[in-house]
Each structure stands twice: as C-alpha cells, then as structure tokens.
Symmetry: C2
Subunit: 184 residues, 2 copies
DNA sequence: CCGGATAACTTAACATGTTAAACAAATTTC
DNA sequence: GAAATTTGTTTAACATGTTAAGTTATCCGG
C-alpha cells in the first residue's frame, strides 16, 4: 500500500479566489493572522517547553502524563481519583487507563475507600518514588535552564498572566451547547 | 479494583508532614508547586481558551485540528503537506490521517505535484470553504469576547511573551537523546 | 426497606499525539 | 546510470484526549 496520491484529475478549487497562480508562500497575508491566534501561541509555547522534557522522561519509560501523576502523588499521602484528575489536569477516562498501567507496573498502589466503596484511593509506591527521584534531577536542571534562558522575572510574569487569563475565562459561558449556535 | 496493599510508612518527601488521614484538600502544600509549573500553566490556559471554541466546532462536525487545517487552507491557494503541517502545527502522521478524512468528506482536494510526485498539494474545496464561512462568525465572536474579557493590551503582551519564550528555547539543546542523560 | 436518582469511576469508541518503520520518488555516489 | 542515500508522505503501534454509555455503590424520598 502506501502508493502515491490519488491524482484524480480535479482542477483548481475554490472559485472565490481571484489570485494569479503564485506560489503559496508568495502571499501569506491572512495566514499570519491564523498563526498568531491565542490558541496557536499557547500550543507552540507549550510544545517548545515540553520538547525539552520528553526525551528525559522517555529514557525513564514515562510519558508526560504518567510523570504528572507520579509527581502529583509525591505531594500527598493518598488521594482520591477525582482529586487526582483535578490536580494532574487529566480527564477521568485518561486517568483511569493510566492508573491501570501504573498499577500494573507497581509504580502506584490503590485501594477502595472504607467509607465509600465507589472511591479509589491512590498513592505512590516505593518503586514509584525511586523512579521519581531518578528523574527529578534532570527535570529540575532542564527547568532551571529554561528559567535562565527566558529570565526568572519574565517567567513569573508570564505565569501570572496565564493565571489571569484562566480566571478571565473561568466564568465565561460556553456558546453553542445545544445544536446550532446561531438560532434553532 | 486493587486489593489491599502494603502501604509502607509515610513517604512524605518533605518529611514535615504528620497528618492523619485527612482529606487531600486539607493540606496541599507542595502540590501547589507542581500545579504552578510552566507546562501546567500553559496547559491550563490553553484548555481554558479551547473550552470556549470546542462546542461550536463540534456543532459543525469539526475537531480543533480539522478546523486548524481548513483555516490554514483558506489563506492559500494550494499548499504542500509538509508546509501545511508546519503552519497548522501538526505532526505528519496526524495530518496524514486527518487529510484522508477531510478528503473523504470532500472538504479538501489534493493532487500530486507535477515536479515532484512525492509531494502532495492540498487545497480547500468549495464545500470546505462554505463550512469555514459557517463557523467563522461564531469563532470570531468568541475570540472577541476573550479579547474583551482579558484585555486587548494584555493579550498582545501575553502573545509577545509566548513568542519570546519560544525563541528562547528554540536553540536549546535537547538533553537525554541517546540513552541515559547523565553520561553516554 | 425499596426503587429511582445521583455519584464515582470505568469502558467503549473514535480522533489525535508520538515515535518508529515502511515506501516510493528524487538525489547523490561511485 | 544503477546502487545507495535522502526526502516526502503514509502506516503501524501504542498512549492520550474527548464524549457517551455502562457499572457499581450511595443517597433519598416514600
């Protein structure tokens, strides 16, 4: 498989464009607009940061999300699944799958809560703790390098703004919940 | 669920924690540290923003990434797959899958480049263009509302900082490429 | 008690992220 | 110029994001 493209004999699409047939790079007017949108800016910035951490985590057999979970667990004795989802910023289904995997690898332990059997209480195992301790130095070094390159002052300022952005949108109503958002 | 396990002694990393088994919310000391890391701040901020757009896109049968692709295509006549991956900030494999889907839905068209049969040239179809035009008003209204809530001035400042962060890390060597990152 | 509503997960299903490998066309080397 | 290498794209395989549905345990009104 993997053959060449389908090369069906279609021709010039979008009849609403009255350009010449200049190369795409020749006129990227509105493209810049798109590329500078807030979601794209945030995405690229985050990727630039995570790009630094992923190889190290990978060398220790951890994904970013698995690391987030273990990291969160080091800060508490035990924590309920829902709370863990909140602090590690993961959706329930993702967390459920990852916990299953981490438990199979003996990096975490969990039991049912005595008072409410629906709730699961999770904690890091000693093996998980050792893993964290093995990864932490590199992670902290990378974080320090990032701080140094960007500037500690500016980093704090950036994080303040990000927090403020979050708060600005926290109360914002989400549009288009029903069906069509124009009218219906 | 996981049966009862050994739960060895408290492993609180900062030794000064001698709580009973109070709820996790009761004492979130070091957790805040983790929660305030740069990657988490960026992730939460981006999620807060995208949360506003997703329902509207979903009502039009589009995911965020599909929207990014169509949006990028409206700015050009045709574009090569690699270039499209760059501007829409998607990895090749993701883009490949999504293009297959968008083509099947007749939202885009593609053909092989005359000069280099390896390259695929992609363009938006008139149907795709119509879809964009149907979604755009809502998206722009949401973006305007975000700008209003957060402040246009601050928004521009935030984006400047995000761009600067990107540039700061662009030249940073990625550690731990080989095997262990200590020495190799 | 009991049966319906609610809550806390978990599964399912589909789309994307991520890395490695496969493939075919183009380019370079010998 | 054919073999070896490189380049552009796709496939494969596994992990996560995202929404909906399923499960089991609690709660709650009668």
């Amino acid at each position: 498989m993997g053959g060449p493209l389908k090369m069906s004999g279609k021709k010039s699409p979008n009849g609403s464009r009255s350009d010449q047939e200049g190369t795409a790079e020749a006129r990227r007017g509105p493209m810049r607009e798109f590329s500078r949108s807030l979601p794209m800016s945030l995405l690229r910035a985050r990727e630039a940061v995570m790009r630094q951490f992923r190889p190290s985590l990978r060398n220790h057999g951890l994904t970013e999300q698995q690391w987030r979970i273990l990291r969160a667990l080091t800060a508490v004795d035990t924590i309920e699944v829902t709370e863990l989802a909140r602090v590690a910023f993961l959706l329930g289904p993702s967390l459920s799958r990852i916990l299953r995997d981490l438990e199979a690898r003996d990096l975490i332990e969990r039991r049912a809560a005595k008072a409410d059997l629906r709730r699961g209480e999770v904690s890091i195992s000693s093996k998980g703790l050792k893993l964290i301790e093995a990864v932490a130095p590199t992670s902290e070094a990378i974080y320090a390098e990032i701080t140094h390159r960007f500037g500690a002052r500016k980093l704090a300022e950036l994080q303040d703004m990000l927090g403020e952005l979050e708060r600005s949108l926290a109360a914002m109503e989400v549009a288009g919940e029903g069906e069509a958002e124009a009218d219906e």
